[in-house]
């Protein structure tokens, strides 16, 4: 098993190839894609397959390292400087090693990175495979593939970055690619939703932009104080500073700004508004961006920057996450669009992850783990929904579906598996991560948490229950019962092979991606999972040195003994398991009796609570509120600036032009009068003298003789007199 050892020299070169392979594919595709056979989709899919294999290999190395006692069970943590691969991307001006202008970049590859890289590689490959069937006949087919490849490049680069600045660069590239991908149908003149697509991609970009600005301000504030962008540098500098001087107020502000980036990218309240509209993009795009990668980037950022967040910031993080979770779950209950339900489900699950990270310690690990499992089952859910839509000839309204399980069996099975995962049923991956999240919330409350963690302790289980409810509502409305629309039902068919293969593989991962219960028989999740293994964490959640080597965390379980924490964790685990199971079963039961057995009529129920229902159905009027306030303000500001530009700036330019023109007139006058005058004067003088001298040239000989005699006399006189 020698090949499973990590050798920095070769392995970092392989890691460098990971984003570069799809990038090369992108470059070839945008120039030559149109001319390749089948428009080059096989090229990019093969490239992504190679990338996936490399990332899986790297993950295997990480797991092997964790299990084999290679680092004595320690963490898997490598930086490319071990292979001598750090590049100074801004030239060195001074000799000081910490001079601000000596900026280097390298690759950071730790357990979190390994897991994330594998997730991105796998999901991206299956999305490519799925797109080969789903996007057939699209008139910008080759551009689509190029775009999802470049998007993957950005995400891979983001995961591999060792400093926040380069992470931000890739973050922005992902923002751009999500704009292009969501707006894919805005370039199709035959699409009926062309304007919606254009508006949606703009909304997505601008909303995440707000988050991006906050993130930039945040890490620049850190740079101002600590003169470093690299993660290691930031962790060290912050913890040292806090150990000596305690958390200062600027830490809170900067941390909130950093969290702003996550609020934007990971669609937390109040910047969640872009994600439901982003469903205008093609379904593979939704699967990749909104399930697995882009929205997870915000959570990943929190994971990387966890040590610099002060406890007060973490309280805010928990609060926002919990609020988002419950808020989005309630809306998800009322949505009839199949993709819309999944969109709100994503927002809600992201809220889970963020809230978990906010609670710290175990919650950090739980949140990150949930990110990994969520990627698999949500991607599968989106792709299944895409399969349903494709089968029903682009019908997305669930009220027109029904009884599709006999017509699309593979899709049905995959979707059911992933729905069980998201509902948190044991044996499926979602249970293990969600269970840990609830456990962390309960733990923090017991160890002396804040109002936010108390709120999270109530909201998160409730949200889990609602999640189970609306996901099964989706299943029942789509696959069970009598078909609501005969026309749709008649034409429904199972999807072609590339799509079903992708679905099945992802569903499989959605099932086993959590705990390898087949291997170690741990069905209830009592033991650490493979994820915690590669992070170097075994039972003891106070020691997160696997993730952050050499750093003493100042914001997690501060002042608490390790033994005490472990005890509380164990207690909380049992309660969490019980609570999770109860809420999940409750939710499924409620969905069953409403939508399968049709005992409760949803229409009568909504009529009873009509005002509340209308509130939720209209998504709490958030979009309209944002329109009236923020957008209107921005438009007014834009108008003011436009007026400034027109009157002041253009005015100055015009005035300069007019001055020039006036000067030109003066110049012309000068030229005409003075200069020409001088020339004419000379000519006039010549004329006058000539006229005067001409008087002597009369042509009369006698006068010439007189002149000659006169001249002679004068000369004689002069000679005589002198």
């Amino acid at each position: 098993m020698e090949f499973l050892h990590f050798h920095p020299e070769t392995d970092f070169k392989l890691l460098l190839a990971v984003p570069l392979l799809p990038l090369a594919g992108y470059i070839i595709q945008i120039f030559f894609g149109r001319f390749l056979p089948r428009k080059g989709d096989w090229l990019l899919t093969l490239g992504m397959f190679a990338t996936m294999c490399i990332t899986l290999l790297m993950l295997a190395k990480a797991i092997y390292h964790a299990n084999s006692g290679d680092g004595h069970g320690g963490a898997f943590w490598h930086h490319s400087s071990e292979a001598g691969m750090t590049w100074s991307w801004l030239f060195q001006v001074s000799e000081q090693p910490f001079s601000p202008l000596n900026l280097t970049v390298g690759i950071l590859y730790d357990g979190l990175g390994a897991a994330m890289l594998a997730v991105v590689g796998v999901v991206s490959f299956f999305v490519h495979l799925f797109s080969m069937g789903y996007m057939k006949g699209d008139h910008r087919y080759h551009i689509f593939f190029a775009n999802i490849s470049l998007f993957t490049v950005a995400m891979l680069g983001l995961v591999l970055s060792d400093n926040i600045l380069f992470l931000f660069v890739f973050w922005e590239v992902m923002g751009l690619m999500s704009y292009l991908l969501i707006g894919h149908f805005s370039h199709d003149p035959k699409s009926p939703r062309i304007t919606h697509a254009a508006a949606a991609c703009k909304k997505a970009f601008l909303t995440t932009r707000i988050g991006d600005c906050c993130l930039f301000i945040g890490f620049m504030m850190f740079y101002l104080h600590y003169q470093t962008f690299s993660f290691e540098g930031l962790w060290q500098a912050t913890t040292q500073d806090v150990m000596q001087n305690g958390w200062q107020s600027w830490h809170n502000t900067a941390g909130l700004f950093l969290f702003g980036g996550t609020v934007g990218k990971s669609a937390q309240f109040p910047l969640h508004i872009w994600l439901p509209d982003a469903m205008e993009g093609p379904t593979p795009v939704s699967a990749m961006i909104h399930a697995a990668t882009m929205v997870a980037a915000g959570v990943f950022l929190l994971g990387r920057l966890y040590p610099v967040l002060s406890p007060d910031v973490l309280v805010v993080v928990t609060g926002v996450g919990a609020l988002t979770a419950i808020f989005a779950a309630t809306i998800g209950m009322t949505v009839f669009d199949i993709k819309g339900v999944l969109a709100y489900s994503t927002i809600s699950q992201l809220g889970f992850m963020v809230a978990a990270i906010g609670t710290g310690g175990l919650g950090l690990v739980a949140g990150l783990f949930h990110m990994v499992t969520h990627a698999f089952f949500k991607a599968c859910l989106f792709l299944s929904a895409g399969s349903v839509i494709h089968g029903c000839h682009h019908e997305q309204d669930m009220r027109k579906m029904g009884g599709l399980r006999k017509k699309m069996p593979v899709t049905f099975v995959c979707m059911l598996v992933c729905t069980l995962a998201i509902a948190g049923i044991p044996l499926f991956s979602g249970f293990y991560s969600k269970d840990k999240i609830v456990q962390s919330a309960l733990m923090t409350n017991e160890l002396g948490g804040s109002w936010a963690s108390a709120f999270a302790g109530i909201a998160l289980p409730l949200a889990a229950s609602i999640t189970a409810f609306y996901m099964f509502r989706l299943i029942f409305m789509t696959f069970f019962g009598k078909p609501k629309d005969e026309h749709v039902h008649d034409h429904a068919h199972e999807s072609p092979l590339p799509m079903t293969i992708a679905l099945s593989c992802l569903a499989f991962l959605g099932m086993v991606g959590g705990q390898f219960w087949l291997a170690n028989g741990d069905v209830m999740g009592s033991h650490p999972t493979w994820f915690e293994g590669i992070l170097g964490i075994h039972h003891d959640y106070t020691d997160l040195s696997g993730l952050y080597p050499g750093v003493e965390l100042q914001n997690t379980y501060v002042g608490l003994e390790a033994g005490h924490v472990e005890e509380v964790a164990h207690h909380a685990h049992s309660s969490a398991v019980v609570m999770s199971l109860i809420v999940a079963v409750l939710g499924i039961l409620l969905a069953t009796i409403t939508y399968w057995r049709k005992i409760i009529d949803p229409a009568k129920f909504t009529a009873t609570i009509a005002p509340i229902y209308r509130l939720v159905l209209n998504k709490y009027w958030i979009d309209e509120f944002a329109n009236k306030t923020v957008i209107r303000l921005t438009v007014v500001l834009a108008k003011v600036l436009k007026a400034f530009d027109e009157y002041v700036v253009d005015g100055i330019v015009l005035t300069v032009g007019r001055i020039n023109k006036a000067l030109g007139f003066i110049h012309a006058w000068f030229d005409k009068t003075v200069v020409d005058g001088l020339v004419n004067l000379v000519g006039g003088l010549s004329n006058t003298f000539g006229a005067a001298l001409r008087l002597f040239q009369t042509g009369r000989i006698q006068q010439y003789v007189s002149f000659a005699v006169g001249g002679g006399l004068l000369t004689a006189a002069w000679l005589i007199l002198s």
């Binding site: 001409r694 042509g699 006698q702 003789v705 007189s706 005699v709």
Partner: protein, 100 residues
């Protein structure tokens, strides 16, 4: 008589010749004036020859002047006739093609 007397006469004749050329409105007076001037020069030559000793150069020159005056008078008269035919008038001021 002294030399000065002859020179004075010569000068007077010369002046009168100039007046004849310049102040009369007839081409022929130009010829008259030219002859008078030549004669004045001749008087000068011969006078100085007499009062300067034994030589004959002055007289020889005077003879040659007389010869050339004769030739010149003939040609000048031919020219005068041509000018009269060309301009149709004996007034020299009518022959002003040299006028600027």
């Amino acid at each position: 008589m002294a030399l000065g007397a002859y020179v004075a006469v010569s000068a007077a004749l010369f002046a009168l010749g100039l007046v004849a050329i310049a102040a009369r409105r007839n081409i022929l007076y130009v010829l008259f004036g030219i002859e008078m001037i030549l004669n004045a020069a001749n008087i000068n030559f011969v006078a100085f020859n007499r009062f300067n000793g034994d030589g004959m150069d002055g007289r020889m020159f005077a003879i040659f002047v007389i010869i050339l005056a004769a030739a010149e008078a003939a040609v000048a008269l031919a020219i005068v006739l041509n000018v009269y035919h060309l301009f149709g008038s004996t007034k020299p001021s009518d022959a002003d093609l040299l006028r600027e």
